[in-house]
């Protein structure tokens, strides 16, 4: 069944049963978020870090989850390495950033031997709950890759399609965004978009319609697209927006969050286990949605997006 809201995601994740989540060097607010997620049956947390202070927090917090484990590690890097080891062994399912520096985290993930790297591109998807209708929108890549070339964009799109299908979108509609809807050799983003769109025409993305290049007016408004003579089932009903590069991706995601007042969540994809990282424009409430999202991705076992 298709999930159309953050509540649908939470419900579906709860229904699928609790997952084990590991978090290195957690901050106080991480523990609060995970305590609530554990209480609602989403996850069983495993905290790795300085045992003494973690136990002190556990002792004081009435919410501290009963089944949670506390494992000792000397410093954040050790905690992270231990967490990744456990994920690789299959002892836990999901990784949360915790107190790890985000660049250190990404660098560690990317490492083929010690990280969670697979043959897929590692990317980040932002998920938005539409402000006026029952609909979820995916925007990617909004965090991990600065200036992906077309092969990486293919990977970024495949990751997003995986997530979209997990959310029940059977034939996702994709807009590959650029400044204009015409292919213009002077604007590199329009070339990449045209290539992805052609790959989709050839069935290389499975059941999906990838339209590009699309400018934002054509993407969000069927009427605007028709005025420009562009006819496509994607216009006015986009499930996945693929952005040209990070300047656009990050600022576009923030625009939806602040000018659009839309709730936002996200997850790292392309790793062998789902990874939740801290983005500054995601509220603590929606952190629970990210955990739920990661739980749903686990359902797909080793083949998660």
């Amino acid at each position: 069944m298709i999930m159309n809201s953050f509540n649908d995601i939470l419900k579906a994740a709860k229904h699928s049963g609790a997952r084990r989540i590991v978090i290195p060097s957690p901050a106080r607010e991480d523990i609060d978020v995970l305590s609530r997620a554990a209480a609602s049956g989403l996850v069983i947390p495993r905290f790795i870090g300085e045992t003494k202070s973690l136990k002190a927090i556990a002792g004081k917090s009435p919410l501290f989850p009963a089944g949670a484990e506390i494992i000792s590690a000397d410093d954040p890097q050790d905690a992270l390495n231990l967490a990744i080891e456990q994920l690789k062994k299959g002892e836990t399912d999901i990784l949360m950033q915790g107190g790890i520096n985000p660049q250190v985290l990404l660098d560690t993930l990317q490492d083929k031997s010690t990280g969670l790297k697979t043959s897929r591109t590692i990317s980040y998807v932002s998920l938005f709950q539409h402000f006026s209708k029952d609909k979820l929108m995916l925007v990617t890549d909004t965090f991990c890759n600065n200036f992906p070339h077309v092969a990486e964009k293919q990977g970024i799109l495949e990751n997003a399609l995986n997530l979209a299908r997990t959310l029940g979108m059977e034939a996702p509609k994709v807009a590959v965004l650029a400044a204009i809807e015409q292919v213009n050799p002077a604007i590199a983003s329009t070339l990449d978009a045209a290539i992805l769109s052609k790959m989709s025409d050839r069935g290389q993305f499975g059941k999906a319609t990838v339209e590009g290049p699309l400018d934002i007016d054509c993407a969000v408004s069927r009427a605007a697209a028709e005025r420009k003579g562009l006819h496509s089932i994607v216009t006015g009903d986009v499930d996945i927006y693929v952005v040209p590069e990070i300047d656009t991706g990050y600022l576009f995601a923030e625009s939806l969050a602040f000018f659009g007042k839309m709730r936002s969540a996200g997850v790292v994809l392309g790793t062998s286990s789902p990874v939740i990282i801290n983005l500054p424009f995601i509220s603590a409430d929606d952190k629970a949605v990210e955990i739920a999202l990661a739980c749903l991705m686990c359902r797909k076992g080793k083949n998660h997006g």
Partner: protein
């Protein structure tokens, strides 16, 4: 001069300041001709219609617009229409020009030539103004139309053009954010280095009366170090800068046209050294076009007054 805080303010002012002569370049589409008709009826403009005579007459007839009394200039080649219209603006014959069914790049080409001839030092950039509920002033994204990947030199000129527009709108010391996708990962972005360099120059007063704020993302602008909460109580709208310099064309164009989706209103124009040029997008509807024309009329009026004061 009072500060113009809403796009709707332009309509009222345009009625007071109009009608102004506006050379209209290739008005061959119904929506666009309808906008010219309404703008004329509202007393904003007295159009001079330049382009293919037959097509102009057809479009006028379709929207029931009697163009008998207006001056017409017959020309079929699109670049020539653009050239002659922009020349009229620069020679002072008309205070405003408006683009119809001509590729925008032709207009930019004409403007660049005329600016070079006039030795004005101004380049071409597009300023897209937004009116956002809860923000008590206009905000502008720029450059949203010309430079694909502006370098430092281009960004300086983009800032100067936008500051020029905001001074005309009555903002004595506009605040500017140089936007970037800079975040905690991915090293230092080129767009962020541009911010750092431009901030130093702005602090030295190189861009005149304006200020570059120490924020490059909307998170910094709206949350100022606080955390986002479910009830949005930490989102502050009282410190939003007036001018937002976008890193590149893709970013600017994609974000500024979010008015097709979000609850914001947009109006775009090119400010040349001699007067505004309205450059509606091919997907804009006629009511939006009328608003853009009213903005052109008001800016033209403010430019004329400024010139008189300087004399």
């Amino acid at each position: 001069m009072t500060m113009i805080r809403k796009l709707g303010d332009f309509a009222k002012l345009a009625r007071e300041k109009g009608p102004k002569k506006m050379v209209v370049l290739a008005p061959e589409d119904n929506d666009f001709m309808m906008a010219i008709k309404k703008s004329h009826e509202l007393g904003y403009i007295e159009p001079i219609l330049a382009g293919d005579k037959k097509r102009i007459a057809e479009a006028a007839q379709k929207v029931d617009f009697n163009i008998g009394s207006f001056r017409k200039i017959s020309e079929e080649d699109k670049q020539s229409i653009s050239d002659l219209g922009i020349r009229m603006l620069f020679s002072g014959e008309t205070p405003i020009a408006g683009k119809g069914q001509i590729p925008t790049s032709y207009i930019y080409r004409s403007i660049i030539r005329e600016e070079a001839k006039a030795n004005s030092g101004m380049t071409v950039s597009v300023v897209s103004l937004w009116e956002v509920p809860g923000i008590d002033h206009l905000i502008a994204f720029t450059d949203t139309g010309v430079s694909i990947k502006p370098n430092m030199k281009a960004k300086k000129e983009i800032i100067q053009n936008a500051v020029f527009v905001f001074h005309l709108l009555g903002y004595t010391r506009p605040k500017i954010a140089v936007l970037s996708g800079q975040r905690e990962v991915g090293g230092t972005m080129a767009s962020y280095r541009d911010y750092e360099a431009l901030k130093i120059e702005a602090d030295e007063g190189k861009f005149g009366d304006c200020e570059i704020v120490p924020a490059t993302s909307f998170t910094e602008i709206f949350l100022a170090g606080k955390k986002r909460t479910g009830d949005e109580k930490n989102v502050r709208k009282d410190c939003v800068p007036h001018i937002l310099i976008v890193p590149c064309l893709d970013t600017g164009n994609i974000i500024c046209k979010l008015d097709f989706f979000l609850n914001v209103k947009r109006s775009s124009l090119v400010a040349t050294s001699r007067g505004p040029v309205c450059i509606p997008s091919r997907s804009d509807k006629s009511h939006n076009l009328v608003e853009q024309i009213s903005m052109g009329v008001v800016l033209a009026d403010h430019m004329e007054r400024k010139k008189k004061v300087q004399k």
